[in-house]
């Protein structure tokens, strides 16, 4: 069963056609990218997959399950996690809490358990705490557990956001412009990190990115969209020299 099956996805916002008959097929464990000029509709596609918008037309199936009508938290529970273009960490909560709260869909205890502090609550909380610390340890961020996001460097905050997404144990990780705003040294770090995550965790990574160094060095397969529709698809080699893609980004040479 395919991990992600998007079929003829169309999204209209009033009179604006943001996504135009898009289809995507991911088996699982791919490392691929969604690129296109500004305003092409890339984040809209991610928002649709996350369940934040309901598609006007077409379908999205995650692990065979049609997500139409599902709320975002339900889609997440199917194994989809994402990061955001502008970092959306919870700034008044510690890094550890940021990661723990993402476990909400599998807390394993009810309100009454938390009020009564039952055995189940204590065990589950300990387990969640342990899992979160292990993840931080694994990513080399153990000492940041009790830090607050605003005190961290931008690149570190990005890393925390990725860690938070990973804590959901996703099968599909959506990264929305992970390299945005990072200085080139951090970008090199990021490329290594994504590569490592892809190797260590059993998941597919689909990223939106503008920085071609990241895309070209990491991704096996790239989909290019413009005005909400696919204009090209293929390996980095195919895309690099594709005239349609070049024209979309740079405009017609006659202008």
């Amino acid at each position: 069963m395919a991990l992600l099956e998007i079929t003829n996805l169309t999204q209209r916002f009033g009179g604006l056609l943001a996504v135009n008959d898009l289809s995507v097929h991911l088996e699982g464990r791919e490392l691929c990218a969604l690129i296109g000029p500004n305003g092409a509709g890339k984040t809209t596609v991610f928002n649709l997959v996350s369940g934040f918008y309901q598609p006007s037309d077409g379908s999205i199936k995650i692990g065979g399950v049609d997500t139409r009508g599902m709320k975002p938290h339900q889609v997440t529970a199917l194994g989809v996690a994402r990061t955001f273009q502008n970092i959306r960490l919870w700034n008044d909560m510690t890094v550890l809490d940021n990661i723990k709260v993402s476990q909400h869909y599998r807390l394993g205890y009810s309100l009454m358990d938390s009020l009564m502090r039952t055995r189940r609550y204590i065990d589950r909380e300990a387990s969640i705490d342990r899992t979160a610390m292990e993840l931080l340890e694994f990513l080399g961020m153990r000492e940041l557990a009790n830090e607050f996001p605003p005190n961290l460097a931008y690149g570190t905050q990005r890393k925390v956001e990725i860690a938070r997404a990973l804590s959901i144990k996703p099968k599909l990780l959506l990264l929305d412009e992970p390299a945005a705003g990072l200085p080139s040294s951090d970008v090199v770090e990021l490329i290594k990190l994504i590569e490592w995550i892809h190797k260590e965790f059993d998941l597919a990574i689909w990223m939106i990115e503008h920085q071609m160094t990241v895309v070209m060095s990491l991704c096996q397969w790239i989909k290019v969209i413009d005005f909400g529709a696919t204009i090209a698809e293929g390996t980095p080699e195919d895309i690099r020299n594709n005239p349609v893609v070049i024209r979309a980004y740079l405009g017609d040479e006659n202008i």
């Binding site: 709320k71 938290h73 909400h104 869909y105 807390l107 959901i168």
Partner: protein, 338 residues
């Protein structure tokens, strides 16, 4: 002493101490009333803080939930123990009053929580300031509804609950209401603390800080809002029930926007998101009300002005979003705030 035992032991000691003071006459009726009122305000402030502080919403109708709890508890009490023209003869003998009292209060809690549910549902689709509108309207609706229910006296009010308290006092002459209110405050703080410090409860803060991220990171935001709202309004109902039995009389005019404003003042004075802050602010506010009594109506110019000045110079209130154990870390040895 291990941390698990210190707090309950200290609370029991406090309660016994209070009782000793009242029985010996050191704390007279007047002082007892002040302490009782303080307790009720503590419950109101702490419960509103869950929605307005931790969840960052702006609910202006706390008095409405208090009213629901007050009336429900009163009716149940009278139905069970007091002969009444409408509710008929008492079902149970007055000796059982002290056993049934928690049930009476629980009824108020449940009714208020239910109304909270009704109020919370329309607020899902709306954002920000609209909750203010909805809670405002809800407050008016509750008051207006109560004024129209003649069975509970309409605008004239309802009494009879006092007989239950007198009945309990005839059994043993201890300050029953003070005790019940003390238990109520402890219960409130206990519940809220446990809720807010669990990962489950932290979902509420996540919603406050970034609702979109919370929803996408698997927090069921609608359900969390409902739970928080019901908990908050239920506790307001508890406060209402205690208030009704303390005063012995309820009428719709006790639960107006002014009462809701008092709750707002306490929450922001104490600090949004600080349980300790709400408790402290409630205590200070009660004393302030007493202290300013000679000013009469000017009291209600002074108190809002206090809050206005607070907003200008220290909007985070007394405690900001910190708890007592953040300011005095050594206290962590004696109790765990987790």
């Amino acid at each position: 002493m291990s941390p698990r035992l210190t707090t309950p032991a200290a609370l029991c000691a406090l309660l016994l101490g209070l009782m000793a003071l009242t029985q010996s006459g050191i704390l007279g009726q007047y002082e007892q009333t002040i302490l009782s009122t303080m307790g009720i305000y503590m419950i109101l402030a702490a419960s509103l803080n869950l929605v307005n502080g931790y969840m960052g919403e702006f609910s202006c109708g706390h008095a409405g939930f208090m009213a629901v709890g007050a009336y429900t508890s009163s009716v149940v009490g009278v139905y069970l123990f007091v002969p009444d023209p409408f509710f008929g003869q008492p079902l149970l003998p007055m000796d059982l009053a002290y056993l049934a009292f928690p049930v009476i209060l629980a009824a108020g809690f449940a009714a208020a929580a239910l109304v909270g549910l009704l109020v919370a549902i329309p607020s899902f689709k709306t954002r920000g300031d609209y909750l203010a509108v909805i809670t405002l309207a809800a407050g008016y609706i509750v008051k207006s509804a109560l004024e129209n229910i003649d069975v509970v006296g309409g605008p004239r009010g309802f009494m009879g609950m006092k007989k239950v308290v007198i009945g309990m006092e005839e059994m043993i002459s201890i300050p029953w209401m003070l005790i019940w209110i003390f238990i109520g405050v402890v219960f409130t703080v206990w519940i809220l603390r446990r809720f807010v410090y669990s990962t489950y409860g932290k979902g509420v803060m996540a919603i406050h800080q970034d609702e979109v991220a919370a929803e996408i990171m698997s927090v069921n935001t609608n359900k969390m809002k409902l739970v928080a709202f019901m908990l908050s309004s239920g506790l307001a109902g508890l406060a209402g029930g205690l208030y009704a039995y303390l005063i012995g009389f309820v009428n719709p005019a006790s639960f107006t926007i002014l009462r809701s404003t008092e709750c707002l003042v306490m929450v922001y004075l104490g600090g949004m998101g600080s349980l300790t802050g709400s408790i402290l602010a409630a205590a200070i506010f009660t004393l302030l009300l007493e202290f300013l009594k000679p000013l009469e109506q000017l009291k209600w110019v002074a108190i809002p002005m206090l809050l206005i000045v607070l907003m200008q110079f220290r909007p985070e209130g007394l405690m900001g979003n910190r708890e007592l154990s953040d300011i005095f870390p050594k206290l962590k040895r004696f109790y765990r705030f987790k």
